[in-house]
Amino acid sequence: MTALLLTVFTPALGILLLALLPGLRLSGWVNLALSAFSLGASLVMAVQVLEAGPITAHGFHVDAFNVYLLALTTFVAFTTAIFSRPYMEAVCHQGRLDKGRMRLYHASYQGFMFTMLLALSTDNLGVLWVAVEGATLTTVLLVSLYRTPSAVEAAWKYFILCGVGIALALFGTVLVYFAAQQAQVPAEAGLTWSALHPLSGRFNAVAMGLAFVFLLVGYGTKAGLVPMHFWLPDAHSEGPTPVSAVLSGLLLNVALYAVVRFKMLADNALLNTGHPHAAGYLMMGFGLVSFTVAGLSLHRQRDIKRMFSYSSIEHMGLMTFAFGVGGPLATFAALLHMLVHSLTKSAIFITVGHASHIANTQVIDHIRGLIRTQPAVGWGLLLGVAAIAGFPPFGIFTSEFLILTATMQSWPWLTTLLLVGLVVAFAGLFRHLQPMVYGSAPEGQKAVGANMIPVAVHLGLVLWLGIAIPAALAHWLDEATRLIAGSGLL
């Protein structure tokens, strides 16, 4: 329990500390130290949960499903903090930011971590909403950090669209509460997930169905599902690179996590009606549309960060689809995919940050010959894209293969669509990647001080997961699958 509280509340402390701390260099290090501490605490907690089973106390609830997401979040937060320290210092030296805004950046970074960890670990579905909305509020100023007109515009779009989406999610939450009250759930249980889940079979199916529609659209907006995705490419391309990394790698996961939690309730409520899989079908629909649209959009991108944010939409679509298909195999694959996608995508954004430093632009047409100017960055980008496109032996290959297999079992004719989509996305990524990495470098392009350790670690992990999933992790994922899909895979 202590470890859990430390994990969640270290960033909360960090908000205050970093908001008050004036030193520029120092706050970068403090940010890193706080993230490291939170990571350590979360690993201790993970081991505890692994050994002693789920923790439910003081309004928190940690089970197999969220424990690995908690560990993943603190891990990516830590590695991004490693990258962010020198990167943001360099940005500051370029004169794009002043000291006040650097303070804002660091405080918001910790605030963002706090809201996400709270969203993942809380037992109360209402608090989950409050935390996800809080994540919007803390990141909106990060997106507009550079104060350029386009950054302000992107942030405004992000604010308004996510605000609307999240409002719908609140309405869904109210409906869930309503359904719970109608089902005579004791008042003190309120909105706590651990109390609602065992009783959700008694909930009124109509109310839960309606609630799930609102929740899927609401949290789906945050997860970047098409057609509510318009904020995502803007926010990713205009915000500072470390923010893009955590948005893509973590925030989208949290939103999807919320959807899946509610799907578990909705599935129970709908079990004995005429449409027991209605929630799953909805998710499959949204997922497929997002997957296809984003895959096609990859081809027409001219901004490197926008391109990878579309790739994020594509993968979120794939995961939503897989969760929608349901069943142990697809669920296991989706959980694995959440993990490997996070690791890979944050690694890619970190590399992209360096690449755009080298070329001094984010326009794809002007980024050329990375591998000649700075081999580490060029290779990082190449391997990262290879991983995200689903090349073996990276972990994404494994999870995508599992998703395809699961689809083949229950929806054979959709497999073709998925395969075509994957090929289209692959082509979209590589046609832009090839000249960026191998093209001839412009005159006077120089290497920059780049810290590629986080990238190497992330890609190494993804590679490892592709070759062999460690027994402990497989056990976790299997537990989570058992929780979501009813039965385990192993």
Partner: protein, 225 residues
């Protein structure tokens, strides 16, 4: 039938109907300062509904929510918006609404739609106030429509905030209010959002020298700098 209810519930219904009217007022009103007054009025109405519900249902914690809403949505946020409008020198600003009639007609269609959406919920509930669920959905949708249709940043913020009013009304009318922790958390989020909106007014004004979102058009697909 309304005739069988006591005066308290009749008053609740009248106030709820007025909330919808205030949404339409916000939707179609082009003068900024009076739109902010309209929003304050809506906040107070919603708080009054909650207070009457608390009285009717004997539910003391709703009084607290009502008080919170009254201070936040009825007084504090309108005051903040007024101050911002004054500081940005926009008191006389009148937005040029392109199609006022279409705006209102779509709004009416949304009210009908929300009635249809809320119908299954209403059928399940036994309390007298179940009909207000449709009203709250309507307020949410009207706020959303305002966000889409209006081009003025302050008007969009008002739409956003009136959506929150609708959500509060939904929580109050369908479930006698959410648990207190959630209620407080939501109120806190709304407050922070209001402050951030204020910050954004200045940023937007600085970057495009106007608060008209039509001029926020740099980021369109395939046209990056």
């Amino acid at each position: 039938m309304i005739g069988q209810l006591d005066l308290l519930h009749q008053a609740i219904f009248v106030l709820a109907a007025l909330v919808v009217f205030s949404s339409f007022f916000l939707l179609s009103h082009s003068r900024l300062t009076s739109a902010i007054h309209g929003f304050a009025f809506q906040g107070m109405l919603v708080a009054a509904v909650a207070a009457l519900m608390a009285r009717a249902g004997g539910n003391p914690h709703l009084y607290l929510s009502a008080l919170l809403t009254f201070t936040l949505k009825g007084l504090l946020i309108p005051w903040m918006l007024h101050r911002l409008v004054r500081r940005l020198d926009m008191e006389r600003e009148v937005e040029n609404i392109a199609h006022p009639v279409v705006l209102v007609l779509v709004g009416m269609a949304l009210v009908v739609f929300s009635y249809w959406v809320a119908l299954p919920i209403e059928r399940m509930q036994a309390t007298e106030t179940r009909n207000i669920v449709a009203v709250s959905v309507a307020v949410v949708l009207l706020g959303m429509w305002m966000l889409i249709a209006r081009r003025q940043v302050v008007a969009q913020v008002l739409g956003f905030m009136s959506m929150e009013n609708g959500l509060f009304l939904a929580a109050v009318s369908s479930t006698q209010g959410m648990p207190l922790v959630v209620e407080l958390g939501v109120a806190f989020d709304v407050l922070v959002a209001a402050v951030l909106f204020g910050v954004f007014f200045f940023h937007i004004k600085e970057s495009i020298d106007s608060l008209d979102v039509d001029r926020l058009n740099r980021l369109t697909e395939g046209k990056e700098a």
